[in-house]
Symmetry: C2
Subunit: 355 residues, 2 copies
């Protein structure tokens, strides 16, 4: 079960063409293709082109509007509130972060909160989009509930992702993209498939007790917030900056974008851009960032550690490799894309990845 | 070893008078007293009036300037950069958050980044200060290194605290105040004192291996970031918003405010205020917040859980109790205050806390 490779540009074009068939206009289709392809290039395959087929299924049942005209319903000096009108999350995210960047250029910081959107994929993309514009970017989203709160049981709280990025002098931007559960549901699902036990900090059983048995996943169990009250509290912060302030759906009213395919997702996002150059007094942020990064990377290593990393380093290496040799995609992504190819009559040219 | 109680107003006045003796002007001394007393009222005794004696020791050796005139060295539409000039962190924090609130009133969001400050105590105070003004407030600080990075050993990274608060309809603001280590150094120190073992997610030993032995604390070991790469990455975010953008000291150049008493602390902070009322389209944020909180509090309980909490709830209950009966202080705080009373000739009236 080896990976297969496809040219980045071809994959992007494939996504664009597929969306055009379902009524999206060209600019929006290109934006979606760009976000999804870049996400795969970073190696975040759970949030990349694999999901395109599902987004299209969602379009087919009218739960996602490919022609949605999102609107800024309220604006002020450094903020904007967007009603995304159930449009494609990638189009929404790009437009909202572009607005945050525009506001930050004017006033140093820009904050855009978004309601009534659909799954925006990986926040890393939008954070990096700001960093590519010389900004510190932050992107976050609420989600449907999948975590228990400390002392509770069942899925009550969203594991609301937070991503950020900032530029550095001698390298690609630092990028972090995390959810607020101890670990990703995907990892638990894998353990469930292979009947492996899991650390007791990942999940609680249907009674709310920490469990090492992944069988409770989607079976009465719930994820645990990272650091217990820490992840719980940070999830509430994301909820307030996304849903509560925008007037959108809080977690219990958000429907899973993939498991509740016929329902509108109603997810909410927030984007913050900070214009480093206009703020930093001595104009050498990127040098200081580089200096800090080198300090971290050259700090003492534990036994068996060959190399210390900063967030985003692995992702950029995968990206460079993908640009050179074609993006390497695992079997489940290839299968999903091949199925979509069949449904749309489009074609992708694969090469074996023997590495 | 029972707690003792003292009237909140008397404790605040005691702090103010003590600082007046060491050259601080009245407004600044009152501000410091207010922050420290409120912090104790919240039950965060590690960051409250217990430390006043140490701050004064720091003043005596010229490592903290009680007369510092902090300055906004750069300002724009929605941001400001403060040089705190080695002044008292509580004075700095109040002034910086007040500025962020002022900026937010104008443009929806305000961001103030601060360099060359001293330990600001508990971020909860400043976040709540914004919430009392109808805002969502965020306060953060860098610290001297005390955590290992994933794959590393030794103290490399600060466990940079993040606090936030927002108002709700039928109760005191939600307040979260966390550091980015799995747990507080204080807890490890207590385990060390009592020769207890600790969970292996709290600390690494001098070789960088997870350890259950607290003896390595301040003995070659280092704290672990919460959620490994998650806490690591969030610590870098705080570092960028506080030190890197303000041009201040990053973690390795920050000196422990208490263990390096004769050195300037040089810590950096960041404050963000978001003017909820001017942003939220339907003007009912506090109602939505209340609704969300009730949903969380009434969600299913695990076995043996009598009550589910939201962040800050316990702190406000302690505060109400303290206002009514006098703040209840543990022995180490009482001892520190009594020693300061001796040194200053001031007096505190204690009552026994028999609860």
């Amino acid at each position: 079960m080896s990976n297969k490779r496809v040219r980045l540009q071809e994959l992007k074009e494939f996504c664009t063409q597929a969306l055009l068939q379902y009524g999206m206009d060209e600019k929006d289709a290109e934006a979606t293709g760009e976000v999804l392809t870049m996400t795969d290039a970073f190696g975040i395959h759970s949030h990349g082109t694999k999901n395109l087929r599902m987004y299209i299924e969602k379009i087919k049942v009218n739960a996602l509007n490919p022609k949605a005209k999102s609107e800024f319903i309220r604006e002020g000096g450094s903020f904007a509130v967007m009603d995304a009108k159930d449009g494609m999350g990638m189009v929404v995210g790009r437009k909202a972060m572009a607005k945050a960047i525009e506001l930050a250029k004017k006033n140093g910081i820009g904050y855009v909160t978004v309601r009534s959107s659909c799954h925006f994929g990986a926040g890393a993309y939008y954070a990096n989009y700001a960093a590519q514009n010389g900004m510190l970017g932050i992107a976050m989203s609420n989600t449907d509930p999948n975590m228990a709160i400390p002392g509770g049981k069942g899925m009550t709280l969203g594991n609301n992702p937070i991503a950020y990025a900032f530029p550095r002098k001698n390298g690609r931007p630092v990028i972090l993209d995390i959810a607020l559960s101890t670990t990703a549901a995907l990892k638990i699902n894998k353990a469930k498939m292979y009947h492996q036990s899991i650390p007791d900090t990942w999940m609680v059983d249907p009674d709310g007790k920490p469990t090492t048995d992944p069988q409770y996943y989607q079976n009465g169990g719930a994820l645990q917030p990272v650091g217990a009250h820490k992840g719980y509290g940070l999830s509430m912060l994301v909820e307030s900056l996304t849903a509560m302030i925008s007037g959108g759906a809080i977690c219990r009213d958000v429907e899973s974008w993939c498991f509740q395919l016929p329902s509108k997702n109603k997810v909410c996002h927030a984007f913050i851009a900070i214009d480093i150059d206009s703020i930093t007094p001595d104009g050498d942020f990127e040098e200081r960032a580089e200096d800090y990064i080198q300090y971290l990377k050259n700090s003492p290593k534990a036994q068996d550690t060959s190399r210390l990393l900063v967030p985003g380093e692995i992702e950029w290496e995968k990206y460079e490799d993908g640009v050179e040799k074609g993006i390497s995609l695992p079997e489940d992504v290839v299968d999903s894309l091949e199925q979509l190819a069949k449904e749309t009559g489009l074609k992708l040219h694969w090469s074996e990845d023997n590495e």
